[in-house]
């Protein structure tokens, strides 16, 4: 639910501009959302890994549940909330009985189980997110076990306890078994299947039905009067929902200003101008996305980074206020933990807040480094940071091209480090290069395939010391970040290892965490430990700005703004 919900939410946020229709009255006009981040890859969403593909398909099929801005569960295809057995191993899912495919046949538990077992878990399809449904049992990786109970009920049985697994289930969307069996086993035929590429099967599962997709141009879905959730109130209230693609942010914002589109996201520098326009309203909402600076603790990084005090000192020298104020123009807040402030699992208490006064202090940072042996003091007492032999440091910061704020942050960090006497070379590389040559690693002289974490001995192809990266944490299930911070974590490319942290993440995935208070305490401890350990420098959490035409009604701004987008309408013209 999380992942999908967020995509849906963010996509909806962008979309929000549709025409206004009073509730229950005639349906008019189209909602046009402006985007400039690139087109989707496919509507055959089970094959996709890009967010845009999910968001397109998501207009035509609902997941099991989503959540609102207060993080209350909002049921969609679920008839009632998922039941978890007392031992935390069996999840019972009951779906609604009024869901139908386009040919009139009912959507059953069989479809869900088939999608899981025969499609997502299969070898021939190679579902990109199979890892979400795997668990470690006795050192082996196995898949969870779904099973049909009756037409509207199925269970998923685990062998290990993972309290937050339920959020993965919320995101589940089925494929129609009666169509998928025709392509089973043949990945090329499945990829090209016209039913899946044209979303012809979606029935009453979503507020809209697929109409047209003109590549790199527009994606159009039309109102679905049979929508199970909306048909009693006449929702949705837009005739069509259109995603229009633009080549730059400037052109799509100009289109909003001109009234050609209903909604689009607004760049920080333009927010004030758009807020003062009479026919536009702009909402500033928190997000779960944050930017971080990873410290390379593997063998091919600066040895100093293995030392906790050194990392703390560096974080003390990097100015988070500059980043949030000068670069992001105030649309960001300094981050001290991987858990966003809007999450119910966030605690402020005891966090070590590096990068902001009083823990932003270049003098003190230099002192700390000097104490660890990484500096020389001149006659005035000024410390210049060097390596243990006294030679000036020359470090490497890698960041991917294509994101201006990321580039700007890299330069700002470089400037901060320069004031300590550390020369940092910025390597701007395409994302694929960053991943392949800087993040992925292998044990030297072994023949293994490069992976994001091949153990503590592994090193990447290119040497690096810092990598600037964007990441995000699931609001309701922050434990997903274990891939980052645990010794064996699949995404732990920077080589951090701390048994205390490993233990905390283990406890999150155990019976103990079934109790919410216990879970809260474990997360609080996690945040404290990580903020003190500084395996990475948590820089800032981003805020998003979305602009709408003033006549769009029904929007509830917040972290999950799009959860009720099917109820939005244009204000009726008086």
């Amino acid at each position: 639910m999380r992942k999908f919900g967020i995509f849906l939410a963010l996509a909806l946020v962008l979309i929000t501009l549709t025409s206004g229709c009073a509730k229950g009255t005639t349906v008019t006009n189209d909602f046009i959302d402006g985007e400039s981040g690139g087109d989707a890859e496919t509507l055959n969403w089970i094959l996709a890994a890009d967010a845009t593909s999910f968001s397109y398909a998501g207009h035509t099929v609902d997941s099991l549940a989503t959540y609102d801005n207060q993080l209350n569960i909002q049921l969609r295809c679920l008839a009632k909330d998922i039941e978890v057995s007392p031992d935390g191993l069996v999840y019972t899912v009951t779906i609604r009985d009024d869901l139908k495919w386009s040919d009139g046949s009912p959507v059953t538990a069989e479809d869900y189980v088939y999608t899981l077992k025969n499609l997502m878990f299969s070898d021939w399809l190679n579902y990109p997110y199979k890892s979400y449904w795997q668990e470690e049992v006795d050192g082996k990786t196995v898949l969870v076990a779904p099973q049909v109970v009756n037409d509207t009920t199925f269970t998923i049985t685990r062998q290990t306890v993972y309290p937050e697994f339920v959020y993965r289930i919320y995101d589940l969307i089925p494929y129609p078994k009666y169509i998928a069996v025709k392509y089973e086993g043949n990945v090329e035929a499945f990829t090209q299947a016209p039913e899946f590429n044209n979303l012809t099967y979606t029935g009453n599962l979503g507020p809209y039905r697929f109409k047209e997709w003109s590549r790199n141009d527009r994606f159009v879905v039309e109102r679905n009067p049979d929508y199970y959730l909306g048909k009693d109130v006449g929702a949705p209230y837009f005739q069509q929902y259109i995603v229009k693609l633009f080549s730059t942010s400037a052109t799509r914002q100009a289109a909003l200003e001109a009234g050609d589109i209903t909604s689009t996201s607004i760049e920080p520098a333009e927010v004030n101008r758009f807020k003062s326009m009479p026919n536009i309203k702009v909402f500033t909402i928190p997000t779960t996305g944050y930017t971080l600076l990873a410290y390379n603790q593997r063998a091919n990084g600066w040895e100093g980074l293995k030392d906790k005090t050194v990392r703390q000192a560096l974080s003390m020298a990097i100015n988070k206020q500059t980043i949030s104020q000068a670069i992001l123009l105030g649309f960001a807040e300094p981050a001290y933990s991987f858990i966003p402030a809007t999450s119910p699992w966030y605690t402020d208490e005891g966090l070590a807040k590096y990068g902001v006064a009083p823990l932003y202090d270049k003098q003190k940072a230099a002192e700390l480094l000097y104490q660890e042996g990484y500096g020389i003091k001149d006659s005035n007492g000024t410390i210049k940071v060097t390596d243990k032999k006294g030679t000036p440091l020359h470090l490497i910061l890698a960041v991917n091209t294509g994101s201006k704020p990321a580039e700007d942050m890299a330069f700002s960090i470089r400037k901060d480090l320069l004031q300590l006497g550390i020369e940092t070379e910025i390597k701007l590389v395409p994302w694929a290069t960053l991943l392949r040559q800087y993040m992925m690693n292998t044990v030297p002289d072994s023949k293994q395939e490069p992976g994001d974490n091949n153990g503590p001995e592994a090193v990447s192809q290119e040497s690096w010391d810092f990598i600037l990266l964007g990441f995000s944490t699931d609001l309701l299930a922050p434990s997903g970040s274990s891939v980052f911070f645990t010794t064996k974590g699949g995404l732990n490319f920077f080589g951090y290892s701390n048994p205390q942290v490993d233990e905390l993440f283990n406890r999150i995935k155990s019976k103990e965490a079934l109790d919410k208070t216990a879970r809260q305490q474990i997360y609080a401890e996690m945040s404290r430990v990580l903020s003190e350990e500084q395996p990475i420098d948590f820089l800032i959490f981003h805020r998003a700005n979305v602009g709408f035409q003033k006549n769009v009604m029904g929007i509830e701004p917040g972290i999950s703004m799009g959860y009720n987008y099917y109820m939005w309408y244009f204000e009726p013209v008086k």
Binding site: E41, T42, D50, T191, N216, D452, G490
Partner: protein, 325 residues
């Protein structure tokens, strides 16, 4: 008097064109497939953020599109399919390549056609005028302007036009609206800035070329004869001088038409957001979507070759002295 040699010549040229096209196809194929990047690259950002395994996903995606087979196998499969009319599946956009091209070629075509017409007609008129009024102030001014036209980087011109006319003055939309019916006035209006962007460079070239071709012919003997015969100046210029200058000019126009798909049109489409073949092939390159890259390259190549052939053939009719061996 039949031109039997013409038929042989055409056949020879066609065979020759196919060989060239095959050569280009092979080079393109090798370039796109041999590179270190893979269609899985665009997935990598999202996969990593969700804790997926990049190596496994890359392997899976390559298997899905048949990219894990050895290169020569892929190559022959591709050629084989091509002969049977199957241009392949575009994995960047999830649709058959033919459908993709069918949906988008019209945007490139209308842009190129209008720009060429604009440039050719205006260019010729200005060139003729300039030649006739040689050494006057107008001539110098027009020459100077044509230099400017050739020298302006066309992508910068596009941005400047958007900045001035769309953003500051709001006369035109900042993006191209594909919902407008093709033969409507609105569509024409939407194409004004792109056509100016694309056409300016060509225009300047035609002006200069027409001018110099006209000047060359104006000095020739037949002009003096015509004038001596007492023909009105307009007939002299229009009927005699211009007709002689026309031949090489037509060559150039046709050549530009054929080769413009890549280069100017490419950038113009990207700047103005026109979803034509240029934009499609550009996105395909970045997505390692080789069926689309090859398809669009072949189309461009065929156009050039066909146009060259057509021009050469038309020469034989326009100038009876020409004969090809």
């Amino acid at each position: 008097m039949g031109k039997s040699w013409l038929r042989d010549y055409i056949v020879k040229r066609l065979i020759y064109s196919i060989i060239i096209a095959w050569g280009i196809l092979t080079i393109t194929f090798i370039l796109v497939r041999v590179g270190p990047s893979s269609p899985a690259d665009k997935y990598l950002a999202n996969i990593t953020a969700r804790g997926g395994d990049p190596a496994q996903v890359t392997a899976a995606i390559e298997a899905r599109y048949g990219l894990d087979k050895p290169i020569y196998v892929q190559y022959f499969n591709y050629l084989g399919n091509l002969f049977r009319g199957n241009w392949g599946w575009s994995f960047g956009t999830s649709m058959p390549v033919i459908e993709l091209i069918k949906a988008h070629w019209i945007y490139s075509f209308q842009l190129i056609l209008l720009s060429s017409l604009f440039a050719a007609i205006l260019g010729m008129l200005i060139g003729i005028y300039s030649a006739v009024k040689q050494y006057t102030k107008t001539d110098y001014a027009l020459t100077f302007l044509s230099f400017i036209g050739i020298s302006i980087p066309n992508f910068w011109l596009g941005i400047m036009l958007i900045l001035v006319f769309s953003v500051k003055f709001g006369l035109f939309k900042t993006y191209y609206d594909t919902t407008l019916p093709l033969f409507s006035l609105d569509n024409l209006k939407a194409l004004v800035l792109p056509v100016i962007t694309l056409g300016t460079g060509m225009l300047a070239g035609y002006v200069r070329y027409t001018r110099s071709a006209m000047l060359d012919n104006l000095r020739k003997a037949f002009v003096t004869t015509a004038r001596a015969k007492g023909l009105p100046e307009r007939t002299v210029i229009g009927k005699h001088v211009f007709r002689n200058a026309l031949l090489p000019l037509v060559t150039i126009i046709m050549f530009d038409l054929g080769s413009i798909v890549f280069g100017g049109a490419y950038l113009t489409e990207i700047i103005f957001g026109i979803p034509g073949l240029g934009q499609i092939s550009f996105n395909a390159i970045f997505a390692n979507d080789y069926p689309v890259v090859i398809a669009v390259t072949l189309i461009g190549t065929f156009m050039v070759l066909l146009v060259n052939l057509a021009t050469d053939i038309s020469y034989t009719y326009l100038d009876p002295r020409i004969r090809y061996g």
